[in-house]
Symmetry: D2
Subunit: 422 residues, 4 copies
């Protein structure tokens, strides 16, 4: 029994998913890369659409929604976060694999928001096609001109005007906006600049084709454009939305962000553990096969140290992630705040160290397009700052430690726990 | 139930033990230090003997023996390794506490050896008084003249002569030999230098007062003599022992060492997690109370970073230790070899980092006799090299990784997995 | 007096160069990026050509050749390596700046090879136009199929056939080969597979337009193609070269590589120090201007720790580099082997840490195209493996330490000091 | 001549000192340890007194005073700080060696204070016998009840009463006070609690045998008491001193501390580099001679990595120290503030890492009394917090970086640059 055999159904799904990965994902990695580099970079790939059909048919679909967000079990298998861990990790091994199973960010977070806070109309219009994998979505929170790690800095405005809201602002890192199927974005902005600090922001649904919505440009991540997914910088100029597009109610943006970001973060961590595991696998294969100075790299002690260190770090990161998932399942996302913050620091850093070692072992091949390592590194690096930089999460962990020992945390630097961008 | 949950009986014992620590251990820390510095440093302390009576009476005794080593449950409560984790960690918070509950090294390992491999006569004579806490014991394996991290280097001789064995050799780091109640030592030496490499060594019981057994001197650890426990350098000159003192049989020293060292190592790791946890606790208290540059140290961000980093590292080390314990319980010590090796690297390093941060926060007070930190550091540092240095355990982990991916590990540097000293 | 005022002329050149950077380099950074993204990515930029004219006119040209490689001072100002340090560092602050002053790799190394080992005819044909900045060049050493960190692994063949050599092989990481002005490459291959291990390889000049020379594809570094410079994977199929294209003589490839790589490595290190210095500068500016949680990032202690740590690391890396340069000047490149190896490990690692901190401080802006940081990171990361991975240089340093203490280094793992790719 | 070259006289003294170390210091290491453990631990050693005579006779004496503190060259050879670097480093290789050459802390700092700020009477009475090595001295600054890293916290009072001052306070870490020849201490306390923050403190001379001066106890560092030098906790109860014992004038304590601590810190760093160098030397010797798993430790790559890493770190720390010394010589201690702060962070950390690696290689022998390593570790560890903890010096470095780029440093956390204890 492995760590992941948390329940029989999780075990069974993991086996099934593993077979799917072997049969349909790994063998198509080169093909996907080639397709992206052919023609319009921002068009979704037929190859992936076909795989989605296969996955949906096999019931490998929408694993991500925990029972709490889908009490009637109408949207997916209703796995606990702990059960999801092993599946999410496995999908994370290939960057485009989560999409095949309709488990990719930011759609998962957006679907969770719509499932938990959406009106029946909002669910009908947007949640349904997202759950079926028909459309994709964006999340527009971070702004170029302010430190969005402190979400109170967000400046965009959402102003009520009769039955409508008028939205103005500049956003960037709207991930997924490059995809031609991206139809809707959840937008965060201020409805009331004079309200209490955590009640100023609201979230509202904005279709990507609404008048006034402009994609200024696509951002690169260490040279990668991550097409066709992509990361857009966008302007919203006098965009008018019906009041019914508001999520949950005015001033509740923070509340939604808090609920949304916990699961989003732990999913990232699960995938990062999968990436690290894959990098370790590559490291072992390479070092057993490549020879320098008269013997395979595996027989150089330095290599074995890197392998051992990686195994120790990955296992710790995984256990910490599983523990956080288990706490979310048993005591709730809010009570697991410190544990989620901890993995948000640990997992990307572990993944980066492991991937970096693999790159070093591969030499020139490790930094170029011939292995998935360089792209994995770029993506993992981003996760040390996206969804809150390490230091902000470390503050959350520290605050909780002082609280547990009975020290008044309001004293602690007067810091608010601030939600940050996807 | 997952590995993250503990059993009701473990939970209950932990609460009981916690109360005992609060009532009888922490309040006596200064007293114990003072008693050691009074009169003969190598005499056991009445204070501790009294606490032992109390603990025995409350049933807080001999937690350490897992069901596999005591199938009939005659020696203790028969806790699983996973159940023991939380108890051992708690006892580890004060360096002399494990003895109060008859759970201190090297007695625990020696008792386990006697329970598993001893003859009824050996058990009657030595196991019984050890289990009752009447006597204490030593383990004589490491030698000053060779790298004992590679146990095949051990040079002491154990030569059959009629119904006796004649033992010659120099040992050091016979921990516990300073205590006046230390009556017996398990000694490792070569019975057959010509046998296959892992069949040359044997283990034999030698009473400390046997003719030819001499304590040369006591070793210090970063200036500490660890009295009255202590670490002896010893000579064994033509010591004659009846053949019945042999453990398990000639040539089976490695086999015993392997069986003994796994539990010994994980117990060290559990205690190290406890030490780290205590250091973190001290760090938080100190930083909330001491002021520099106009505000409590806790309000300096650097302090909170140290707190957060420590929490994240401790939790990972604990989970890794629990995982190894769980594997020992479910697949056996041998199959958990890599997992035990991993924690043997991780736990001391984590403890050292956390304790070091606490020392830094305490300043001069952190390195002197006014906190337990400096001694904790010295002891934890030793555990990066005792029972095998980090690099040897890292090799074990790496070897297993290659094996799991199908690479012939005999190629891997021709290294043997070698048992090392207590 | 600063560290760099090693001589008055070095000081004066540094001031002059600094002014040029302020006037012509920094202000054109965005323009260069824009020009590259316009039209043919592999065409050289007029903007840079114009700046080259300006620099040449000001005498800011060919700083790189030390007196030893140009005894008559016909090729440049004849600066010592130590004098060059401050200039090279400054040019390194902008990735395309060294080219403006005709000091960019791999041209500098190739020019040094031609200056030291070239025949008058070879110098006339290739050195002259390189020195004038008219053409550019490549260095074809590393091969995709073998661990080129051990140069004895190199498999390409250079076979004598009458008055010609016939060259076959696959090379990659021929940096600079993307540029349309790249006219010549120095190629390394085996002339005699049966010779003593370090006498098997030779270097020969191959024009890029020679029949049989094919650029298969351009490699990316992380996601960057580094156009128009670029890194080519090339095939050489039955390429025929006149015997007069051989450099120095058959079997002397290693000797040339050794002479070439020392200066090449230290120049990389100087530039890396410049990059790190620039990243620190950006970190300070950003943190003084951007606000989070109610105060500028500079007032968060974590930021100041990063700044201080960066300053301490940069200064150490710079001093170590200057020391190595001084040793090259005074005791020669060969005797400075260990010191050069040391900086080749230290400088890229320091640069990476500093740049990484800057990225973290910039958040999303740090990983995208809006600052030079992400590209700097990608380039610096490559230098932990190009020209020999860290571990190979560490071996060189260790070997020398044992030698200095009188231990026979032939014992040391039987490792050869192996030259590696540019 | 660059900072990488040493002057002929420094070179010559270094050779002479090296010979003395070989002839008289290293061969007496065991003897000194044995003498300390015999009889009264707090009595100075005849062995060392005899060596002092020898050293004085050879002119190896009082190297530490730079020309600026002894303009007429009456007290010693008047070496620059840069010239002193190589000598101080060499003496630092054995913990008691600096005393042999009258270059040990805290005497050096105290002599410098008396030379620079003492009245002729104070110099006659205390400086002269200190310079001749007849008596020793203490420095009483740090207090047990406050964070002395912030010197404004110091609470002792020095109250004028007619022609006398009345001194009250508790001090600890008065290093050197254990020695029976310790006759005088420089004491810091508040003369005016209402003065501007940096003008409240004064320094006054207090003979150790003055009525009211009590040694409460000796502190340990890890388990070492550092006899006969030692670290005292002391009470000063209504100690009355003539007004003429005041140093420089009331309210000038900070000013003196600033002047005193720069040289004190850099001397510590020089010695730490010497300790690290010695640890590396031991590491190399041990690893060439001790065998594990079938080959010398030196042939395990992990060992060579530790050796290389140590060499690279030591050389960087040494160069940084030399640079700081050179700046003190050329621009003055005040302008070199950031550079001194930098080495105060770097040198102890480098020494600790190198010594720690050596300990790991020695195994059990590394932590006990059989090598100098464990004691070296304990002493070096203390220097990460004595004379200011790392983070305080990092703040100094950061502050200067911001200043250099034109940012108003008064904004920076409102931190004062605070002198701290010896």
């Amino acid at each position: 029994m492995t760590m992941f055999d948390v329940t029989p159904r999780a075990k069974k799904l993991r086996e099934q998913l593993g077979k799917f990965m072997e049969a349909h994902i790994y063998p198509n990695e080169d093909k996907v890369a080639a397709e992206i580099n052919t023609g319009d970079r921002w068009h979704h790939l037929d190859l992936i659409e076909n795989l989605k059909d296969k996955a949906r048919a096999e019931g490998l679909w929408n694993f991500f929604l925990p029972p709490g967000s889908d009490p009637e079990g109408q949207y997916g298998p209703g796995l606990t976060n702990l059960e999801y861990t092993g599946l999410c990790e496995m999908m994370g091994r290939v960057w485009w694999a989560p999409e095949v199973f309709n488990c990719s960010a930011p759609d998962t977070g957006n679907m969770e928001v719509l499932a938990r806070y959406g009106t029946p109309e909002q669910q009908e219009q947007w949640l349904k096609p997202l759950l079926s994998g028909e459309i994709r979505s964006g999340f527009s929170m971070t702004e170029p001109d302010v430190a969005s790690s402190d979400a109170t800095n967000i400046q965009s405005s959402v102003v009520r005007d009769g039955d409508e809201y008028v939205i103005n602002g500049r956003k960037w890192w709207t991930s997924g906006a490059g995809d031609d199927r991206c139809k809707i974005s959840i937008f965060m902005g201020k409805t009331d600049p004079n309200a209490e600090r955590h009640l100023q922001q609201s979230m509202i649904l904005i279709p990507m084709d609404a008048p006034g919505v402009t994609k200024e440009r696509m951002l690169t991540v260490f040279g990668y454009d991550d097409a066709p997914h992509g990361h857009a910088q966008m302007t919203f100029g006098d965009v008018r939305m019906p009041a019914s597009n508001m999520l949950l109610g005015e001033g509740r943006g923070f509340e939604i962000a808090q609920g949304r970001l916990g699961p989003g973060r732990i999913h990232h961590c699960m995938r990062l553990v999968g990436q690290a595991e894959r990098a370790l696998e590559l490291m072992i294969k390479r070092s057993a096969q490549r020879t320098a100075f008269g013997k395979p790299l595996a027989l150089h002690q330095h290599t074995r140290e890197m392998v051992a260190q990686s195994r120790m770090e990955i296992d710790q990161a995984r256990l910490l992630t599983m523990r956080a998932a288990h706490m979310m399942d048993t005591v709730g996302n809010k009570a697991a705040k410190s544990e989620i913050a901890a993995i948000k620091v640990v997992a990307p850093n572990v993944a980066l160290r492991v991937i970096d070692r693999a790159i070093q072992l591969y030499g020139g091949e490790g930094v170029c397009q011939d292995t998935p390592l360089a792209l994995m590194y770029a993506q993992a690096r981003t996760l040390r700052l996206a969804d809150g930089p390490d230091i902000v999460h470390a503050e959350t962990v520290a605050k909780e430690e002082y609280r547990r020992q009975g020290f008044d945390t309001r004293q602690l630097a007067g810091r608010s726990q601030a939600p940050v961008t996807t």
